[in-house]
């Protein structure tokens, strides 16, 4: 067991990635998507992924993004099941913490978008509050339009960027 765990840790360290190997006890670390592919070559890693509902592609908990209309910050009905699922997970795992990151598309004012991104993150936080998640488990942050996921200059990218992401601590 110790050997396996050590092996996993080494792979994680070499890949510059942390947190992939833990089940329900997230650790602090930097999100690094490029590294996770390397880490998947370790057999023990596969097991860990299966055991973690947050990483299971078939589980709604693996979905993390709530999308919005232009200049809007209300959680649309289609994303309510997603926020509900994460709220249920958080109330069942008191040691888990999330950062809700608000984002906007590039149009309009950077400062207004920073404020709008905050409202988007806040809309998810407030819904989680109503569903029983205390503020101590949620941190909100806004990136405004500064960290676009998609970088083209039309609606196909803009709709990707009007978004709040739920990021678990340690991811």
């Amino acid at each position: 067991m110790n050997k396996i765990l050590l092996g996993t840790l080494l792979v994680s360290l070499l890949a510059g990635c942390a947190g992939q190997d833990v089940k329900e006890q997230p650790k602090a670390g930097v999100e690094d998507k490029s590294a996770s592919q390397t880490a998947q070559t370790a057999p023990s890693e596969q097991k860990a992924v299966e055991a973690n509902p947050l990483k299971d592609p078939n589980n709604i908990l693996s979905k993390r993004s709530v999308f919005y209309d232009f200049d809007k910050y209300d959680v649309k009905n289609e994303y309510k099941p997603l926020v509900e699922a994460h709220s249920k997970y958080l109330t069942g795992h008191k040691d888990a913490k999330v950062a809700v990151q608000g984002n906007c598309d590039e149009r309009g004012s950077r400062e207004y978008n920073l404020a709008l991104g905050n409202r988007r993150a806040d809309s998810v936080r407030k819904m989680m509050n109503v569903l029983g998640v205390p503020d101590s488990q949620i941190e909100t942050v806004s990136f405004g339009e500064e960290k676009p996921r998609a970088t083209c200059h039309d609606e196909s990218c803009w709709k990707e960027n009007r978004r709040a992401d739920i990021v678990y601590q340690g991811e």
Binding site: D71, E111, Y112, L114, A115, N118, T140, S142, K147
Partner: protein, 434 residues
């Protein structure tokens, strides 16, 4: 008459040093393209100064470029008039009237034994045949460009009656790849210096009223925090790093306080804080977004963006936070207000037909609104300190560039770098000796 020229150099402070890059002025220079002109252009000749050809830096070409760029002057060619006049006695006014010149700038540059340069300059009225201005400057060679801007400012002032802004500076952000640089350059785009470099976003630079400091928002600690940095020493301090976002710094006209935006109590709200970070006081109390404060020149009121009415609009409140009134009613997206230097109007960004974002100007007394630009992704407009031009960010061919437009919408300029996106400009104040 020594010129006070502030240059940013010699960074070397503990934490800041890690983030700061050596300035690369050569490839960071902004290039200017003029896209329009004023209705009435004053024909003016700028005769090459005696002794100028021996210098490393031409002076009259900079003067002429300044005057031409602002769109209010037509430069009269002086080629072929021999001998070139450098003193009033050498001027044959008939030559210049034949070329329709209404004014004439002449002068000379002398090498002094102590290594300094003496620049003598006169502005002559070619119609009345009288001297309008005469100055001399004792300078170092490094001050030649700044002196040229000063001469252009004097010509502008004498011939238009307004204060010239050629000697001012601008601040802006350049993004190249993943790198963000806060830069300061002369108003003609020359002499760009990097104030701060970071791999995380930098936004909202704001000049202190005396032009010695910049407040800005940096994401270097993974969330927006407001800093104030001295340009001369590069020393900086955190102004606000409360829970949540800290952003949108705007200086009070006396430089003692800043209006800032915090989310520490929920949604984005406007607060007042002393320039040393003490004395935080909440000004706005809404459950909606209140952001982008801008002080009136008399320091008595603040205009800002709020979505309290359902869409972002411009509001004005007293500096006490009381009596907020809505100012914009046209359209469903009006943001980024900035007061004009005379306090009679404000500029902002208006979304038009749901897709175009344009610089607009609104008169406070009449409520009359005018759209000034024909670009489509405009952001961050600010006034030149004489109120005659506005600087803003826009996008051409998918690249972020800076542009300027006169307050009557006639003269348009574009400023771009060879690399990267330029954004978040703010026009600096008049320099101290203006």
């Amino acid at each position: 008459m020594r010129m006070a020229i502030n240059r940013i150099m010699n960074f070397g402070h503990f934490f800041v040093a890690v983030l700061l890059a050596a300035s690369g002025s050569a490839n960071a220079a902004l290039t200017i393209e003029i896209v329009g002109s004023g209705a009435n252009q004053v024909p003016v000749a700028v005769v090459p100064f005696a002794g100028e050809s021996l210098l490393p830096q031409a002076i009259t070409s900079v003067v002429a470029a300044d005057l031409q760029r602002c769109g209010l002057f037509k430069i009269v060619d002086s080629v072929g008039i021999t001998p070139e006049p450098h003193e009033p006695a050498e001027v044959n006014y008939q030559d210049w009237r034949a070329r329709s010149a209404e004014a004439l700038a002449i002068g000379s540059i002398l090498q002094r034994p102590d290594g300094k340069l003496e620049v003598r300059f006169r502005l002559l009225d070619a119609v009345k045949q009288v001297q309008l201005a005469g100055y001399s400057y004792i300078i170092d060679a490094a001050q030649l460009r700044a002196t040229a801007h000063k001469i252009a400012d004097l010509i502008y002032e004498k011939l238009t009656g307004d204060v010239g802004v050629f000697g001012t500076r601008i601040a802006y952000i350049v993004k190249s790849g993943k790198r963000y640089e806060l830069q300061v350059a002369d108003a003609d785009g020359y002499g760009a210096q990097t104030v701060l470099a970071s791999n995380e976003p930098i936004i909202s630079p704001s000049w202190s009223p005396d032009g010695t400091k910049l407040a800005y928002v940096s994401f270097e600690r993974k969330k927006p925090i407001i800093y104030i940095q001295s340009l001369a020493s590069s020393r900086r301090q955190v102004l606000a790093q409360f829970k949540g976002n800290n952003s949108a710094p705007a200086w009070s006209p006396d430089g003692k306080q800043l209006a800032i935006v915090l989310t520490r109590d929920g949604s984005s709200q406007i607060y007042l804080v002393n320039a040393d970070g003490s004395g935080l006081k909440r000004l706005s109390y809404s459950s909606s977004i209140d952001t982008e404060p801008s002080f009136s020149p008399d320091g008595m009121s603040i205009i800002f963006t709020s979505d309290r009415g359902g869409s972002p609009q411009i509001y004005r409140m007293a500096v006490s936070g009381n009596g907020a009134q809505r100012l914009t009613f046209e359209g469903d997206y009006n943001v980024s207000p900035h007061f004009s230097p005379d306090g009679k109007s404000f500029t902002f960004i208006q979304r038009i037909n749901g897709s175009s974002f344009n610089v607009a100007l609104q008169d406070l007394a009449s409520g009359q609104m005018q759209v000034l630009t024909d670009t489509h992704m405009d952001e961050s407009p600010s006034f030149a300190p004489n109120g005659k031009m506005l600087l803003y960010a826009t996008e051409i061919g998918g690249r972020g560039i800076l542009a300027a437009v006169s307050s009557d919408g006639r003269v348009k300029q574009r400023l771009s770098t060879r690399f990267g996106d330029v954004r978040e400009p703010e026009w600096g104040p008049l320099s101290k000796d203006q």
